[in-house]
Amino acid sequence: MRTLKFLLKKEFSQILRNKTIRVAIFVMPIVQLIVIPFTADYEVKNINLAVADHDHSVYSRQLISKITASGYFRLTDYTNSFKSALKSIESDKADLILEIPSGFEKGLIKENEQKLFVAVNAINGVKAGLGGAYLGEIIKNYNNDIRLKWVTPESFSPFPVIDIRSSNWFNPEMNYYFFMVPGILAILVTMVGGFMSSLNIVKEKEVGTIEQINVTPIKKHYFIIGKLIPFWILGNIIFSIGLIVAWVVFGIVPVGSLWVLYASISMYLFAILGFGLLISTYCDTQQQAMLIMFFFMMIFILMGGLYTPTESMPGWAKIISQLNPATYLIEMMRMIILKGSGFSDITPSLIKLGIFAILFNSWAVFNYKKTS
């Protein structure tokens, strides 16, 4: 026990004495947590729209002003030929073309029907998809407006219409910060924990201090636990700071209980730190450890459901994401912070993380050899 206490004391003074590491641990995650959610936003704004208007009527003008008034679109080109509108797409000035046929107003009034043409530049898939959808929605609304004007009040609904209204639960305003901040916080804890632990034992190998440790009667699991606990405590501190930032800057207060939240982060830290230490026992230089950890970090982030839901991945990718501890944390964080999930809801994830933690840590103890 006394040995462990001294091991911890040694690790803590080594970590906290290094000014660069201090900054990297405490300041950088805060800065990232403040900055990234503002930029990692799915909402597509400022879509450039070129309109090829062959009609030049009151109705076509109304439609255009309705589109631009939505705030999503910016009218960059207004011509009367599709060809010149296409040119502005080719020169990247526009993302979408809306073609209004000649006789649009006349046809609409006389025949109760008209067709519009929308051409989308699909180079940027997200922008194209969302832009097209937004535009479709606006045109639909416009259509309803006209109908409302024409249909006489007494003959209310000559034929039944299904009207779909959706409401967003747990995040009523579809606020992206609510969605992204817990996920980003999960990633920051992963990054700091993963990198710090993966570089630690390997650093002792590089500097040569491991030689002196190996010749002592110190037990292998003591040594690994002595490495694990300091980072576990630091991880919890970083997470707490992150929660405060989320509250102060974004006004996000966890709906669920803090106990559940800390239980999930604690379990997760054991898993991810164990993974880092495992890498550390396999590598000989910090460079190797860094590169390997980077590889896994990319998988953790991009296949963990932070940006894209894991449910929409292909089957094999779903299996990988199931083996990714970060998936569970991101999911649990969102569940607890936004939805207020309790222990019973996250138990399956906690158990899986527990299995990861035991697997990685015992593997690390096993692979750390005091004799070569």
């Binding site: 006394r2 040995t3 001294f6 091991l7 040694k10 003074s13 080594q14 004495r17 290094n18 500097v207 040569g208 201090t209 491991i210 030689e211 002196q212 440790i213 190996n214 010749v215 002592t216 009667p217 110190i218 005091k370 004799t371 070569s372």
Partner: protein
């Protein structure tokens, strides 16, 4: 009683099957300073790492304090002190913290064995709040020695403790070892410096993974059958070349400011060599009998 005994110890590295240590056998008695003397790459460090249970031998056996290095490695680690050739204490911890740390991992306290390290520690005590990385080379060695001694080991392994240390500190270091010897600690030390060999009780001369000779330094010197002379001339380069041309001379090599000339016991007489040199037109010849050093013996062994 043999504190350390190695029998046919062999270490082969990697895929290329580089034999670093080739069937080495030796014994070290209690309270002895035993030196492994040899150039870089002779296999000294590999032997130390095997005896300190850090490296598994490919072949052969060894015991330290009567314990087998493979079977009883856990007990051995409690009884030995090891100072690797490379400074391997925590550079970001202070002198005091390093010492406390190693005392603790060995399950003891600094206080308990303070008398053992007192003489050494007192010299670095003024800097106890300084980070170990900020110490000078000599002080680092002293701290490393303190850390290796803090659990009162029976056997101390010092791997090139004086490499990269200034002559004054080197001298001090050897005096410290002598004092430790009086406390009954067995010391194994390796060094590439031949002049340190005479400070050991017994030495093993090593080359390319094998031991060329094991004995007391004096016995090794006495065993050299040849006559040894030191020569100096106006043109040292010509002198060396002239000596090497003469096949009757067993050996000649530069040695400090002199050239050492080795003559086999029953071969050419020194007077003949002197006149040979004069015939060859060398001037300002200075000729004297040289005292044999371990280095001369080592060079002789290498040539055989």
């Amino acid at each position: 009683m043999d504190v350390v005994s190695a029998h046919n110890l062999t270490k082969i590295y990697g895929k290329d099957k580089v034999t670093a240590v080739n069937g080495v056998s030796f014994t070290v008695s209690k309270g002895e300073i035993f030196g492994l003397i040899g150039p870089d790459g002779a296999g000294k460090t590999s032997i130390f790492r095997m005896l300190t249970t850090l490296l598994l031998p490919e072949n052969g056996t060894a015991t330290v304090g009567g314990l087998d290095i493979q079977r009883d490695y856990k007990q051995i680690r409690k009884q030995i002190g090891y100072m690797p050739g490379r400074f391997s204490l925590y550079t970001d911890l202070t002198v005091e913290e390093n010492l406390n740390f190693f005392a603790t991992v060995f399950g003891t306290t600094v206080k308990e064995n303070y008398d053992l390290i007192k003489d050494i520690y007192i010299q670095i005590e003024p800097f106890k709040k300084r980070k170990a990385g900020k110490l000078s080379g000599g002080m680092k060695q002293k701290l490393a020695l303190c850390c290796a001694l803090i659990h009162k080991p029976d056997v101390l392994f010092l791997d090139e403790p004086t490499t990269g240390v200034d002559p004054v500190s080197r001298k001090e270091f050897w005096e410290m070892l002598k004092r430790l010897k009086t406390q009954g600690i067995t010391i194994l030390v390796s060094t590439p410096y031949m002049d340190e060999a005479v400070l050991c009780d017994r030495i093993a001369l090593m080359q390319k993974g094998t031991i060329l000779s094991i004995n007391t330094p004096q016995a090794i010197i006495n065993k050299l059958p040849d006559r040894l002379f030191a020569v100096k001339a106006g043109n040292m380069y010509d002198l060396l070349r002239t000596l090497q041309r003469n096949t009757n001379i067993s050996g000649s090599y530069s040695f400090g400011e002199y050239v050492h000339v080795v003559l086999s016991p029953s071969g050419i007489s020194p007077e003949d060599v002197q006149s040979y040199l004069q015939q060859q037109g060398l001037t300002e010849i200075e000729w004297k009998k040289a005292t044999v050093t371990v280095e001369d013996c080592f060079i002789k062994l290498l040539r055989e």
